[in-house]
């Protein structure tokens, strides 16, 4: 049994699995059920001035019949009175003293408003604060959420105001609706953030009903952009986490969020520099019990690797993530087809023929049976064939021995400039 305890900027939890601030953390009843199921922490549904929600609110994207490949919502922050939430936070913390409860907060960008709410939530015993600078809809129109989260100076200032009074660690939750997430992450760090979390949801429109011409979802025939999350956003979130993790100016722990559905996703986020993870959509899709396999699977993974604590894998892949200019231009892989595994669907052939470098040949063997072969000298090693191939193990991407010594684009440019300087 590996040690799964996690510590994010001083906030301890029995495991690295937290529920993200979202409908699953809307009330004490829910958070307590979640803790019973095994979740290590919960970021309470964002507190602030109670709002009015619309119905309907959610929509999801199915991909070829797979439900909830992506999820879209136009829900705002909590619609319950602050004192009710505070009372339930207090009760929940009392029942589960070892679990992490984080208050997610969003108020107008005014110093006294932040001071006031921070004191009130810390009074009921939260373990930390998460500043929601990420909600992309509704609140942004009031100058909060993503609206303030897209302006580095506002991120910095508000973080600073919170830090003036906060006694518990402060996590700043970042919006992905921005060109370079490290800009706002650095602003948060300058403002004194103890940790950053990412991502909140991505601006989205789930779909259009081609019969009624209504947006999906719609509210009385009208729609507005929502926030996208769920499995489809994982690569975007993972990149943002990685970009922050490898940026020396973002030298605070990261809480990874976005499309995490199981222990494998979790391991990927941890390897890319997240200290823990937060989950919303997967819990909304399947209920709290999914955490059982997350814990068990992570445990088995660590045991199998002979790693005694989950904290040991945090950031282990970060140094492998770099800029394009540092990639070795002389490294070569080519596709090789295993004809005994191949089922002859010809998908690799046509994808290479129509969309890559026309180097998978369709041949006939001595028995008159068709087979495929890669012309390795023309293969650029793009991976496309192996991506579309439906059979595990039918196409291997194999490394070729170096013909020229390793050289990156940056090294090449440097060499060229040295040559031109000399001449």
């Amino acid at each position: 049994m590996a040690d799964l305890r996690s510590n994010l900027a001083g906030i301890e939890s029995p495991n690295p699995f937290w529920l993200a601030s979202a409908p699953p953390t809307n009330s004490g009843y829910q958070v307590q059920r979640a803790f019973e199921a095994g979740w290590g922490g919960a970021v309470w549904k964002t507190l602030g001035e109670p709002i009015i929600n619309t119905t309907s609110r959610f929509a999801a994207v199915s991909f070829n019949g797979q439900r909830v490949a992506g999820f879209n919502n136009i829900e705002l922050i909590t619609d319950r009175p602050l004192h009710v939430n505070l009372k339930e936070i207090y009760e929940t913390k009392k029942r589960f003293p070892d679990h992490a409860i984080i208050a997610s907060l969003m108020v107008e960008p005014k110093r006294e408003k932040w001071h006031d709410i921070v004191k009130r939530v810390e009074d009921v015993g939260v373990d930390g604060l998460e500043l929601n600078f990420g909600c992309p809809h509704g609140m942004a129109e009031r100058g909060m959420g993503a609206a303030s989260g897209q302006q580095p100076d506002l991120v910095e200032a508000q973080t600073m105001w919170v830090k003036e009074v906060a006694e518990t660690p402060v996590i700043v939750k970042l919006t992905p609706n921005i060109t370079d997430i490290t800009v706002t992450a650095r602003a948060a760090v300058r403002g004194g953030a103890d940790a950053v979390s990412m991502i909140n949801t991505i601006n989205s429109l789930a779909g259009v009903d081609i019969d009624t011409w209504n947006t999906i979802p719609h509210v009385a025939g009208k729609g507005a952009h929502g926030g996208y999350c769920g499995p489809a956003v994982k690569p975007i979130a993972l990149n943002m986490v990685a970009e922050c993790a490898r940026n020396p100016d973002v030298h605070v722990p990261i809480s990874g969020i976005g499309g995490i559905s199981n222990w494998k996703d979790t391991v990927e986020f941890l390897l890319m520099g997240a200290t823990n993870v937060q989950v919303a959509t997967a819990a909304m899709h399947h209920g709290f019990s999914i955490v059982e396999d997350m814990i068990d699977g992570l445990n088995s993974y660590l045991d199998e690797k002979g790693i005694s604590s989950v904290r040991e894998i945090v950031g282990k892949s970060v140094e492998k993530y770099s800029d394009w200019g540092n990639l070795d231009l002389n490294y070569r892989v080519v596709a090789r087809i295993n004809n005994d595994v191949c089922i002859n669907c010809n998908k690799c052939h046509i994808s290479c023929e129509d969309a890559s470098h026309q180097c998978i040949e369709r041949l006939i063997d001595a028995n008159g049976e068709p087979y495929l072969q890669v012309r390795e000298e023309d293969c650029v090693g793009c991976n496309l064939c192996s991506i579309v191939c439906p059979v595990d193990g039918a196409i291997d991407m194999v490394e070729l021995p170096y013909e020229k010594p390793p050289m990156t684009w940056n090294e090449r440019q440097m060499a060229i400039s040295r040559l031109t300087n000399q001449s």
Partner: protein
């Protein structure tokens, strides 16, 4: 298999006939199938599993690539879960209850269960740890699904467990009774090993009542679990039963699992009497031993047969013929004392008997002769009356009486589980019910003994 038979079948071919019929899922199949499960809440498939395996949980773990966790979830609830994945009548149980029966097609729960447990077998995982010793000792008689399950749970609760087993190997009918082409012996033997790894002492080749007295056991242990299953096939009570070539179905199947396969049935005509699960196993075994023609004779109709539909289909595919409303009257031998013919009668169904089923009655003058070389009797199982009586337990025609709540027999120190209590309306003689009864018995013992402990303290 098909119906084509040749008179010359080599031993290697025979051995191949006894290899597991059904291939396991490939990783790609397991991925597709596990991702198809809806992960229902309060899932009906769980309710339908007699051992209550958390099916959506183990399937989710296959989907996430946590095969060890998946196997643990299965084996936690069912100590013989690897065997069950192959022999459970899943259409009647979990898969029959899957909600997808109402929309597309049910999840292949049994096959996924096999996929996860096969992984654990192949990777030599040991999944459980014994509990801290509590100083109490329990004897279990019989190492079938019921005895093994009781033993495993008791060991996890900290008991010192000794299992007495009459046979050479442990595992009960899973090891000796269910045909290899459905359940290869290495599967139950792995389950036995899992239990032994918890420190359970397995004393084989010791028949309680013969090699060791019943009272010695009762006196030396804090509790006793009787899990001896059932006995041989009863006598038909007709002429010619002692001729060479007349077999007891259970011994007949056992021979294919313990000794080298013999060529004796190649090209022969076999009549199997009875239409329960054992009859199907005996008939399909005969086909695989090279018999040229195999008939199942049943005195009632297809409607009353106790074999499952999938078993019937399996036998049909093997080319087994069914003769309904047919009963043996006499077995006729040749001058050397070998079976030569079977005289049968036609039957008709009369008034319902005590069990509610219509009683078959011979039709006067309907006798006819079947040319056969072997007769296999599969008309149920007798009870181990001698052992039951040696322990002085109350029983009804060999069915040991138990208090269903406490699992205790008429002797409060002796508990009973599995086929030994099957009949008179409780339970079905299945591996999975025997396993659950074994678990229940372990918990019942723990409850009794801890209660007693508190009272005496």
């Amino acid at each position: 298999m098909g119906t084509k038979k040749s008179a010359f079948i080599s031993l290697t071919e025979l051995a191949r006939n006894f290899q597991e019929v059904k291939a396991g899922l490939t990783p790609a199949e397991a991925r597709d199938e596990s991702n198809r499960c809806l992960y229902c809440y309060d899932a009906p498939c769980i309710q339908a599993c007699p051992t209550g395996i958390n099916i959506p949980s183990f399937i989710k773990k296959i989907a996430s690539g946590n095969l060890k966790g998946s196997a643990r979830t299965i084996m936690e609830a069912n100590p013989v879960g690897a065997s069950c994945s192959r022999v459970c009548p899943t259409e009647e149980l979990c898969e029959g209850a899957c909600v997808l029966n109402h929309s597309t097609k049910p999840i292949r729960i049994g096959d996924l269960q096999r996929y996860a447990t096969d992984w654990a077998i192949k990777n030599e995982q040991s999944l459980f740890k014994p509990g801290e010793k509590n100083g109490r000792r329990v004897a279990i008689i019989g190492s079938g699904p019921a005895g093994l399950s009781a033993g495993r749970e008791l060991a996890r609760l900290g008991y010192e467990v000794t299992i007495f087993e009459a046979k050479d190997k442990a595992g009960g009918l899973n090891t000796y009774g269910i045909v290899s082409f459905r359940l290869p012996q290495e599967v139950p033997l792995w389950e036995v090993k899992q239990v032994e790894q918890l420190g359970v002492e397995m004393i084989t080749n010791v028949r309680v009542g013969a090699d060791i007295e019943a009272h010695e056991i009762t006196e030396n242990f804090d509790a006793v679990v009787l899990a001896i299953g059932m006995g041989k096939v009863p006598m038909l009570g007709i002429e010619g039963e002692d001729l060479a070539g007349v077999h007891d179905a259970i011994e007949f199947v056992e021979a294919t699992k313990t000794a080298d396969l013999k060529e004796g049935l190649v090209g022969k005509r076999v009549a199997v009497i009875g239409a329960g699960n054992t009859a199907i196993d005996a008939a399909t075994c005969s086909v695989r031993l090279g018999a040229a023609n195999v008939k199942i004779l049943y005195r009632r109709t297809q409607e009353e047969m106790t074999a499952y539909d999938f078993e019937y289909d399996f036998a049909k595919q093997d080319g087994v013929e069914f003769r309904w409303l047919t009963a043996p009257k006499r077995i006729i031998g040749d001058e050397k004392g070998n079976v030569k013919q079977l005289e049968c009668w036609r039957m008709e169904l009369g008034e319902p008997g005590a069990d509610g089923r219509r009683r078959p009655m011979p039709v006067e003058g309907s006798e006819f002769i079947l040319e056969v070389d072997a007769v296999v009797k599969a008309i149920g199982q007798t009870r181990h009356l001698d052992v039951i009586e040696a322990f002085g337990l109350e029983h009804h025609r060999g069915i040991v009486k138990v208090n269903l709540e406490t699992c205790q027999t008429s002797n409060p120190k002796i508990y009973a589980a599995g086929d030994v209590i099957f009949g008179d309306g409780h339970g079905e003689a299945m591996v999975v019910t025997a396993a659950q009864q074994g678990k229940d018995t372990a918990y019942a013992i723990h409850k009794q003994l801890t209660k007693a402990g508190i009272e005496s303290a």
